[in-house]
């Protein structure tokens, strides 16, 4: 299991994606799957920075990657405002250009790219997002 704490800043997204890619590569995922895992982790971290830590600087995100059998488990822990991805409304992908919603897309992609996305908010320990993907 690898663990790391990143400052919650958009310019660290590159490193967050690299951290996840390294764990996925070691776990034997294909390059195509690694891209999906990087995208899901990026969307998750971006949402934490944008929503959970809205207006807050000097905040951190704790990220872990753990291979459990054939499944990669990615967790992200933050101490910001509760932001539950499962409560985000699914965007209407059939809407035409003028009605297309800008928000909700990141969460939608996370759910599509990962096998499971779960979220627990605790006033003492903070918010914990867990995403899993099985090696294909």
């Amino acid at each position: 299991m690898s663990n790391i704490t990143f400052p919650a800043k958009f310019d660290l997204l590159d490193e967050i994606r690299e951290f996840v890619a390294k764990a996925a590569r070691e776990g034997g995922f294909s390059e195509k799957a690694i891209y999906s895992l990087q995208l899901a982790a990026d969307e998750a971290a971006s949402n934490i920075i944008e929503h959970a830590y809205e207006g807050i600087s000097n905040a951190n995100i704790d990220i872990s990657c753990d291979m459990q059998g054939e499944t990669l488990v990615i967790t992200m822990r933050d101490t910001g405002k509760p932001f539950d991805p499962s409560k985000v409304k699914q965007p209407n992908l059939k809407a035409d250009l003028s009605d297309r919603q800008i928000g909700g897309l990141g969460v939608y992609l996370m759910r599509k790219l990962m096998d499971e996305v779960s979220y627990v908010s605790n006033s003492k320990t903070g918010n914990l997002l867990t995403m899993t993907k099985r090696r294909g």
Partner: protein, 111 residues
Amino acid sequence: MEITTQEFKHCDLIKVKGRVDSSTAPDFSKALEKANDNGHYKLAVDMSELEYMSSAGFRALLGSQRNCKRYNRGELVLVSVPERIREALELAGFTELFKTFDDSIAAVGSF
């Protein structure tokens, strides 16, 4: 991320290289807006050397497409979309909002 804009007679060819995420998407948006500010609404976005794009980049494309298509004054088209990025755009339901071309000559020639 690196952006270069080439102005042709009938359209602007905007090449975006590297990675577009929440950190770099604002600059990508600015480059698209700048073309619009110059009165150019026919844009071809060359993605041949784009390595990565998150939903932040998709939103920039969507915003620009709305602006370009307003009053039927133009359109934003995509060129040489790498496979992984195309798959993500498909997942997001974005492929039907943008015409795509295999190379920039075809894209520029379409305007």
